[in-house]
């Protein structure tokens, strides 16, 4: 399984970093594209990141990515250096986004172990064309530059030393490598190796780049200093260095005699200042942007860990929590007075609890990045459909479990797409209706107890109740009962499979697959969806999702010999009923009246066909559960107590055999037994089926 994915740590880092950088560029572009021109910071950022990607992709031999980023880099180099006027921002953003999409696609291929075989030529062509147009336009307003190719790198050339002497001369060359090229000593070795073709006398500091472990640090800090004696001209040497990969800066100086060569040690100190300036600049701009793990001088304060490892850690901690209670609640200890043991056991419990909290907190990640991704969708749709849409993001700091983030990102995308596509009207229509021309989609997250609410709100046209009802009737999704349905129930119809008010099909959404998938995805992580809508005013979709999938507060109940666990969140109250409170409807379904409200009763032993257990309603206990769509009572033998349980999925063999309605998973109890975790919404649909 795991071996299918990336094994090579270098590749893993490459994928991780590059994806992150692409994301960053995308965000910068989206943030700034509405402005007249890119701020200098953004240009520098894009330039730098493209440069980085170019180098690392080239190192990993992904040429298509490297070439494309190189072209983009060229474009931004031009923009950065020449500050052209009249940039077609929309065009430019499109190009950048297109390149990013291409690279993302390739990254996806690499991640899956496929060959990155996409052909970037079309995009490259477009970018080059755009660059030449830019140059032309720019020349009309500012005729200073006529270079066809922009100078790729900055060189510090001491211009008065263009010597053409054919005598052998000594040069001192300080080579600075790309800050993030990695393996500086190998790069340095390559330089020397290549230099051997044109000269025979080379001396370098540090001398032994391959075997000296400190060489990397020295090169990083001071640059790679080479003294060469050659009869080649300075220009030739410059060109020579230019052609080599990963070199950021070359400082070429002529030495008058060999004697100076010997004094070089002192000189370096002086020269150091010269090259340090650009280095510091570069470093600063890097630190502005969060985690860039390449600066290995500084001890790293962040590490990235694979989710797989975290999952295993989580499992182990779960096991430990269980083993701990197996030890401390061991039946052998019953009745013994063990003061010291109890003291130690408490200490152990404290530590395991803390450990568990810690592991959980590691897995918690903010929703921000997922939300920010939606910017792109909104942008694309608003451009394509000529709509004016603003995306408003709130509460992006809210943290949820990593697994949940993965699960909700697709549904979220779908919902936002729907809002932008179907919800928000075209500007003219909005104007006619007296609304603001710009439609607003609000994406909000907030904590509510053990759950997180994600709210997608738009101020568009809202859902058409009649339309939905008509459609549902046509598709045979509902029958006569439609009349009696509440607004809420009607809106929920859109989550049924095969439902789509088809008049709305566009490129982005409306194929009738989707909303049901959204609902399914959200349900699969134990969440639920609420739709509220006012026609003409807008729609609000609220996703209620649990903070974490891994651990829930559970209430263990017993039915016959079997033990079940209910999520505490769902329990409203428990009580021992009196036989005379129970009544039956004509269909022989049991109900109970509590405080003037009628609730159906679901007997667990009947619905799960458990042979033993209490049959008389007064011998057991009723537990009132609040499901997504209804509140109902279940009948069990007894409550066994609260426990934090680690949720485990049912084995694949069983889940592939059949989806058992009403079961969410299973867990290990303190005594090593297995308890089945009940799914309240599944049970509720069961109780409805019976009733």
């Amino acid at each position: 399984m795991a071996s299918q994915y990336v094994n090579d740590p270098m590749l893993e880092v490459f994928i991780f970093e590059t994806s992150q950088q692409l994301e960053q560029v995308e965000q910068s572009v989206l943030e700034t594209e509405t402005l007249e021109t890119y701020p200098t910071d953004t240009i520098n950022e894009i330039f730098r990141i493209m440069h980085t990607i170019k180098s690392s992709a080239a190192m990993m031999l992904f040429n298509n990515i490297s070439i494309l980023s190189h072209t983009t880099e060229d474009l931004f180099y031009f923009i950065r250096e020449d500050k052209p006027q009249n940039i077609d921002m929309i065009m430019l953003s499109d190009l950048v986004l297109e390149s990013i999409d291409f690279m993302k696609l390739e990254m996806g291929k690499i991640k899956n172990g496929d060959k990155a075989d996409g052909d970037p030529q079309i995009i490259i062509g477009k970018i080059k064309e755009h660059l030449s147009i830019l140059k032309e336009v720019n020349n009309l307003t500012d005729s200073a530059k006529t270079n066809d190719e922009p100078v790729k790198e900055q060189y510090y050339i001491t211009s008065n030393r263009l010597s053409k002497s054919i005598d052998k001369k000594t040069y001192k060359v300080i080579v600075t490598f790309d800050e993030d090229c990695g393996m500086e000593n190998i790069r340095a070795f390559t330089v020397i190796h290549n230099l051997k073709d044109i000269t025979d006398e080379i001396k370098s500091i540090p001398e032994d780049v391959i075997n000296d472990v400190d060489s990397v640090e020295i090169i990083k800090k001071d640059g790679f200093i080479i003294f060469i004696k050659t009869d080649e001209s300075e220009e030739k040497l410059q060109t020579f260095f230019k052609t080599m990969a990963f070199i950021e800066n070359v400082d070429l100086q002529e030495f008058d005699n060999v004697a100076e060569n010997e004094n070089a040690g002192n000189k370096i100190l002086l020269d150091e200042n010269e090259i340090k300036i650009p280095q510091i600049k570069e470093a600063k701009s890097v630190s502005e942007n969060e985690i860039q793990s390449t600066n290995s001088h500084q001890s790293q304060s962040m590490i990235s860990v694979s989710v797989e490892k975290l999952d295993r850690l989580m499992n182990l901690v779960g096991e430990m929590v269980i083993s701990e209670s197996m030890v401390t609640q061991n039946p052998d200890l019953k009745g013994l007075v063990l003061n010291n043991f109890n003291k130690s056991a408490r200490q152990l419990k404290k530590i395991t609890d803390e450990l568990q909290d810690m592991v959980m907190s590691i897995r918690m990640v903010p929703l921000g990045p997922t939300f920010i991704k939606m910017n792109r969708i909104v942008r694309d749709i608003s451009k394509k459909l000529n709509k004016d849409i603003a995306l408003n993001i709130q509460g992006e700091d809210t943290e949820v479990d990593k697994n949940i983030i993965e699960q909700i990102s697709d549904p979220l995308m779908h919902l936002v797409r729907n809002s932008a596509d179907h919800g928000i009207e075209a500007p003219e229509i909005r104007f006619l209706q007296g609304k603001q021309k710009t439609g607003t989609i609000t994406l909000e997250a907030k904590n509510a107890g053990g759950e997180v609410l994600i709210i997608i709100k738009d101020d568009g046209k809202g859902l058409n109740k009649e339309g939905i009802m008509k459609k549902a009737m046509e598709n045979g999704l509902v029958g006569e009962e439609l009349e009696a349905m509440s607004d809420q129930d009607i809106f929920n119809l859109i989550f049924l499979p095969g439902f789509s008010t088809k008049e709305l099909v566009t490129e982005f959404s409306g194929r009738g697959v989707g909303m049901d998938v959204v609902a399914k995805n959200i349900e699969s992580i134990g969440g639920n969806i609420l739709v509220e809508s006012i026609e003409g005013k807008g729609t609000t979709i609220t996703l209620k999702i649990p903070l974490t999938l891994a651990i829930i507060e559970g209430m263990n109940i017993r039915v016959g010999q079997s033990c079940y666990t209910l999520p505490i969140m769902a329990i409203k109250e428990t009580f021992i009923p009196k036989a005379n409170e129970i009544f039956k409807d004509p269909n022989n379904h049991e109900m109970i009246m509590i405080r003037g409200q009628c609730y159906p009763i679901l007997r667990l032993h009947e619905c799960f066909k458990i042979k033993t257990g209490a049959n008389n309603i007064e011998e057991g206990i009723l537990i009132m559960l609040e499901g997504e769509s209804q509140t109902f009572c279940i009948f069990a033998d007894e409550l066994m107590g609260e426990q934090e349980v680690v949720v485990k999925n049912l084995p694949k063999y069983i889940s592939s055999m059949k989806k058992i309605n009403g079961l969410a998973g299973c867990t290990l109890l303190g005594d090593g037994n297995i308890s089945l975790i009940l799914d309240v919404n599944g049970l509720s649909s069961k109780s409805r089926m019976i009733n």
């Binding site: 066909k609 458990i610 084995p651 063999y653 069983i654 059949k658 058992i660 079961l663 297995i674 308890s675």
Partner: protein, 170 residues
Amino acid sequence: MSNVIEEFEDEFEDDEDIDEGKFLTFTVGDESYGLEIIYVTEILGIQKITEVPELPEYVRGIVSLRGQIIPVIDIRLKFKKPFREYDEKTCIIVVEIQDISVGIIVDAVLEVVTIQTEEIVPPPDINEGYGRKYIRGIGVISNEVKLLLDCNKLLNNDEIQDLEQQRIDM
């Protein structure tokens, strides 16, 4: 019992190549069966099984194997034979195929034997008997006949459709 298990575990440490042609044999009723040893990960004594509702009868439930939850099926019920109470000889053979682990409840585990390919004959072509389709061959060793099971087919959920069909019919 525990001796037997230890013995088997020693065998498991061998290389996979050596496992070629090796079968774990067990009894169900009067017949003895064989399972290719490469699929077998562990043998457990019978333990408390947690029932899972709404499953076919032969899926007895789930057990915890050092924190891993695995389903157990009763091979008697799978072969439509009458249920027999579990005793101290009853064993759960844990097999793993394509990342799916399943425990198989058998009457008793016998031993590990090597059966050469040439000693395996295809099962006769009769369509009788429910369990027949799970037999991939018949091995003969020292005049005893072992029915060799096809692990893949055994764990294949191909009768789900049958079940669904039954429900619709009902």
